[in-house]
Structure formats: C-alpha cells, structure tokens
C-alpha cells in the first residue's frame, strides 16, 4: 500500500469521528430538544406527577441540557445504553439481536440494486435515445414511485400466497433454528457451519424482501448510473479508443463502466441512508426481525431507551458505510492511489 493511500485512509478514518459526533448530537437533539415531553409520551395521560418526575429523573431529563448531553455521550462511548423500559433486558442485547438482520437484508438488497442498476443503467447509456433507453428510464421512475410496502405486499400476494413459491414472513421457516451466531447473518453463519439446508432456507426468506427493497432503490440507481455513464461515454478517451478500432461493447462495459464505477460507488454509499429508510418499511411488511422493525414496535410501546439507541445505531451504520465507501474509493481510483 503506497504511502499516499495510507495517508488517505488515515484521514478518512479520522474524519469519521466528528461526523459520528454530529450524527449522535442530531439524535440527541431530536429526542431531547423537540417539543413533546418524552415522559408524557411514555407514561400517557393520567400519570401522577411523582411518576412523571421519577421517570424524568431516571432518564436524566431533570438535569440541564449540557449535563444531559455529556451523560448521553459518555454512555454512548461506554456502549451503555441502559435498560429497555418495557422489557426486562439490556438495550444493548436487543440491539445485538436485531441489528444483524437489518445488515443482512441491506447486504442482499445492495446486491440486487447494484445488479439491476449497473447493468440497466449501462445498457440505457449505450443505447441512448432508443426505445430500450426510454423504457428503462420510465420503468425506473415508476418503480421508485411505488410505495415500498405496496410492492412488498404485491409480492407477498403473488409469489407467496398466490403461487406459493416463496416464504413471505420472517427469516426462517418454523421448525428451523438459527445457526450459531458468528456474524449474525444467517446465510453466512449457516455456510460457515456447513449446514446447507439451513443456508438455503435463510436465502429463500431473503429473496422477496431484498427484491422489494432492491427493485425500488434500483430504480433511482439505474438513473444515476445512466447519467454517469453518459458523461463518461462522452469523454475523449472513449472517442480515442473508437479511433483505434476498439469495439463498442468493450468501450462501454470495460472502459466506460470502469470509469463510471468510481462515482457509482460513491452513489451507492449515499444511497445507503435511503436503503435503511426503506428497510424499515420492508421489515415491517415482511415481519423481518431487524432494527427497523424494532424501532417501529418499540415506538408504540413507548420504549424510549430502545428507540433512542436504535436510531443511534442507524446513524452509526450510515457513517460506517460512508467510511467503507471512501476507503474503497481510494483503492479503485488510481489517481488517489498514486
């Protein structure tokens, strides 16, 4: 690894820290500063003043804002998120249970998005202004306009209930027990255990949710890929390559795509936040036991501490992916490497 690259990575990692700090602070602001008393939100009407006071004290809400902030940050650093308010568990345990499911869903959805987006985007760019190009563009607009849960429901009805091909709920069929938790991703853990039937079962359960999430976000991604590819294909080195007799297909898919890849990877990273937002809805539709579902369930339970920590982890996920993308960038763009 060249010194230039090493320095680049180091800078990126360092920059992530203030970014995380800001995200954490934003979470703090939303939950503490907004109008609306969390105590009332949790305890509902009819709670006695003592109960409210006790509750606020337990959350540290009776202290001044700066003090609260310090307490909050120190808790975060120690990974101490307190206890769930409605269940007898540590918040961190809940997070540990549900987070991997979301990561797994996000991972497979990313694969769908990348596959759909890159190839249809590149194809549309290559055959600009053709019928295929316009169809692809219109379909991707329509896809993105479909509410995620609506598409999910349609899939459930057709493939699940209707044709009975694919499972529509949960991560595993009843009767299957989850693999030993190494990564928390059922598919990978099952493979690591060598348990093929379990792997296949987990995979089958992943198909519909990741297809739903992937197709809809794939719509935006197609358009972005297309736009980037068009820019790249208009560049001089493509014309120069053509002047040397290189075939169109090689120009588009090897030269063009490899160059467009750089901004595309960045876009994938930026899309991740949208992906997570969509994951919340997908998890709700498919009863997928992930972090999004956790947030939604516990919000209605008024389980404040769990909700707070979950939102935090979403922010952390986004920041981590940004970091990974930035680092990846350093590897694939030779202008940074050397």
């Amino acid at each position: 690894m060249s010194p230039g690259l090493r320095r680049y990575i180091a800078i990126r990692v360092l920059l992530t820290i203030p970014m995380l700090l800001i995200l954490v602070s934003v979470v703090f602001l939303i939950l503490r500063v907004l109008p609306g008393d969390p105590a009332l939100a949790v305890l509902r009407e009819g709670a006695s003043q003592e109960q409210i006071d006790a509750f606020r004290a337990s959350l540290g809400l009776d202290k001044s804002l700066p003090e609260q902030y310090v307490e909050f940050i120190s808790g975060v650093i120690r990974f101490d998120f307190g206890e769930s308010m409605t269940r007898d568990r540590l918040v961190i345990d809940d997070i540990k249970t549900f987070l991997p499911a979301t990561i797994e869903l996000a991972l497979y959805s990313m694969i769908v998005i990348a596959a759909v987006g890159i190839f249809s985007g590149a194809y549309a760019a290559q055959h600009r202004k053709s019928a295929a190009d316009y169809s692809i563009r219109i379909i991707s607009i329509i896809l993105y306009s479909i509410p995620i849960f609506f598409l999910g429901i349609i899939f459930q009805m057709s493939f699940g209930a209707g044709l009975g091909w694919l499972p529509v709920f949960g991560r595993l069929s009843s009767g299957m027990s989850p693999p030993n938790s190494i990564t928390g991703l059922y598919t990978i853990d099952a493979l690591l255990m060598g348990n093929i039937p379990l792997f296949l079962d987990a995979l089958r359960h992943l198909i519909l949710p990741s297809l739903t999430l992937g197709l809809i976000l794939g719509g935006i991604f197609t358009r972005l890929t297309r736009a980037n590819m068009l820019e790249v294909l208009e560049q001089d080195f493509i014309t120069a390559g053509r002047a040397r007799g290189i075939r169109e297909r090689v120009l588009v898919y090897r030269h063009g795509l490899r160059n467009a890849f750089i901004p595309i990877v960045t876009i994938l990273g930026l899309q991740f936040a949208t992906l997570l937002a969509g994951a919340i809805l997908t998890e709700t539709t498919f009863s997928w036991p992930g972090l999004g579902r956790l947030v939604v369930d516990r919000i209605f339970d008024r389980d404040f501490t769990v909700v707070q920590a979950s939102i935090l982890f979403f922010a952390v996920l986004v920041a981590s992916i940004s970091l990974v993308v930035d680092i990846l960038y350093g590897f694939i763009d030779p202008r940074i490497r050397y």
Binding site: Q235, D236, F237, T239, A240, G241, R242, A243, R244, G245, I246, R247, V250, H255, R258, N259, I262, I332, D333, P334, R335, Y338
Partner: protein
C-alpha cells in the same frame, strides 16, 4: 524525397448535421488527395469544419451528423463501402488519430502499457503477451519515454509525454496516415516545438503521412509540405506550403496570413483583423461562402459557387478571381 503516390483520395465529400435549427452543411463537396509520406496541413478558423473533416476521414461522424455523399478511397478501397466491422479494422491499423487534449484522451484507470497492448490485441487477436510487450517497449523508447513509465497511469505523466503516448498509439500498428486534430493546441510552446520535431522524425523514418489539422499557422509553416485552407466547410486554397505562403491567392488565405501576429517590435503596426464573422452554417451565404467578408467580392460571388480550380500544377483555388464565367463582370470600381 516525397513520392507523389496517392494514399488517400477524398472525392466530393459532404457531411451534414441534422440539428434542431435545420441541416448544417459542415463539409460541402470537399475533394483533395493525401500523398504518401507527406505532411498536409489543414488550417482554418474555429467552426470551419476542419475537425469534422478529420473525423469524417475516419468515418467517425456520429448522429446527428452523417456523411451524406462522396468517396473516401484509402489504399484503393472506398471506406464508405465497408461494413462497420471492416471499418473498425481500418481504424488504428491503417489510419489513426491524435487528439487535442492528451489528458482526457487517455483512459485514467488504464496503464500506459495496457493502452498500447490493447490496441495491438484488438487488431491482432493472436498476438502473444511477451511479443506485444517487446514491441511496445521498443516503440516507447523510440518516442523518448523510459520503459518503466509503461506501468504508470496517465495522470502520472507530463503533458508532452502523454501526447507522445498518443503518437505511439497511432504508430503501434504501423498506420499509413496519422490525423493530428489540434494535437498541439493544449501544449505550451516549447513542448509543442519538441513534439513537432518528433513528428517530423517519425514521418521521415516510417514514411507515414500526416494530416495536421490546426489553427496554428506558424506550426503548419514549420511542419507541412502542403497546405489546405478551409473556410465554412469548403477548401478554398490548396498547394505547397511555400507557394501558399509566398503568394496566397484566395482573399481569405491572404487575410489569414496577415492576421498572424509577428514578433516584430513595431509599435505602429496594429493587429490585423478580418472583417465580419464566420457564417451560420444552417443558412450559409449563397454562392461563394466568403463573399460577405471578401474585400474583392464581385456580383457573381453571391450568385454562383466557384469550383476548386487547378491554376498551376499542384495549386488549386476556389475563387471567381481565378475562374472564368460567362456572367462574370469585372470588379466593380468604387462608387458612392
């Protein structure tokens, strides 16, 4: 020293662009020849169609443009009759092109070595890696670049080096003709001079022909054997470089040569500007396209289009001053 054998015959070439504003007649019935082993300079103002002509010679005109008519006979074969695949074979191996900006003409994520070997393997699919590498190394050395640079990416090379790589790409398959489209415009003067020297060396050693498309007249004076002047899609004058510089026939050529600033330290000399502006090619002037700006325009100039007449061996002009026409009136003398 030059053989007068014709390498490339261009006959009556017409290139049109179909835009929202109408049909732009970018190249209008252009005919000329390129001989083996010569440097032919093609000069003109921006927008006169010389770049379009250059691209057309490689059949690289893309929609909304098209080659509407003409013949392009390279080595006896009319390129316009070839299939796309055959044309692809021609590109790079028989004709090649060098572009204006060497930075953007090279693939930023591809190593120099790969640029060259890819060109070879596209045309010679059976070529083996070690042989290709040898050829490439030899070529690069000849161009004055150290072989270890082959592993580098384009952004690691200087501007002059990149342009030499481009020349290398043009030579790697022993093309007969290199079209240099504003190849030195983005380089600074000193580098430009070095590059011009190198091109001359290559021409001498390999016997290739070069079509130097440029608006830099001084460069053409140095490099070219013959000079073609283009205006508004038409070739208005063509001849050996000495003849054209010594005795420009076409009023436009005269104006062009006069506008070249010289480094004479004469305070009294103003910069010469030609009157008027290049025409809008969706609705070009009738007859001779230069007549609105021509100081010697005659009535016939706006009515009929002149032809490219050979007035002496190897010297042609596209102007009513040198051509007879029954309706031609003598020059109008100055009246009110």
């Amino acid at each position: 020293m030059q053989s007068k054998e014709t390498l490339y015959e261009i006959k009556d070439l017409v290139v049109e662009y179909h835009t929202r504003y109408g049909v732009v007649n970018a190249v209008d019935h252009v005919s000329f020849d390129i001989y083996r082993g010569e440097v032919l300079g093609l000069v003109g103002e921006s927008g006169c169609g010389k770049s379009t002509l250059g691209k057309a010679l490689m059949r690289m005109i893309e929609a909304p443009g098209e080659i509407a008519a003409g013949e392009l006979i390279l080595n006896g074969v009319d390129l316009l009759g070839l299939t796309p695949k055959e044309m692809r074979d021609v590109r790079g191996s028989q004709i090649s092109m060098i572009f204006q900006d060497p930075m953007t003409s090279l693939n930023p994520v591809q190593r120099i070595q790969d640029h060259l070997t890819e060109t070879i393997s596209t045309h010679e699919p059976d070529a083996e890696k070690p042989t290709m590498l040898q050829r490439v190394k030899r070529l690069i050395e000849r161009l004055g670049i150290q072989t270890q640079r082959l592993d580098d990416y384009p952004h690691q090379l200087s501007g002059g080096m990149r342009q030499r790589v481009m020349i290398g790409l043009g030579l790697v398959l022993n093309a007969n003709l290199i079209i240099a489209d504003e190849a030195t415009t983005s380089l600074d003067v000193i580098v430009e001079a070095k590059l011009a020297d190198q091109l001359m060396e290559i021409k001498e050693e390999f016997g290739i022909s070069i079509l130097a498309i440029t608006h830099n007249i001084a460069l053409v004076a140095q490099l070219a054997d013959r000079l073609a002047v283009m205006y508004a899609g038409r070739i208005v004058e063509i001849g050996s470089v000495y003849e054209v510089f010594d005795d420009p026939k076409h009023p436009y050529t005269r104006g062009l040569l006069q506008s070249v600033p010289s480094i004479k330290l004469d305070d009294h000399e103003d910069l010469y500007k030609m009157a008027g502006e290049p025409p809008d090619l969706t609705n070009p002037p009738s007859g001779c396209r230069f007549h609105p700006r021509c100081p010697e325009a005659m009535p016939i100039c706006s009515q009929e289009k002149p032809t490219l007449q050979e007035i002496s061996p190897g010297r042609s002009v596209h102007c009513w001053l040198y051509e007879d026409h029954p309706e031609k009136e003598p020059l109008v003398s100055e009246n009110s």
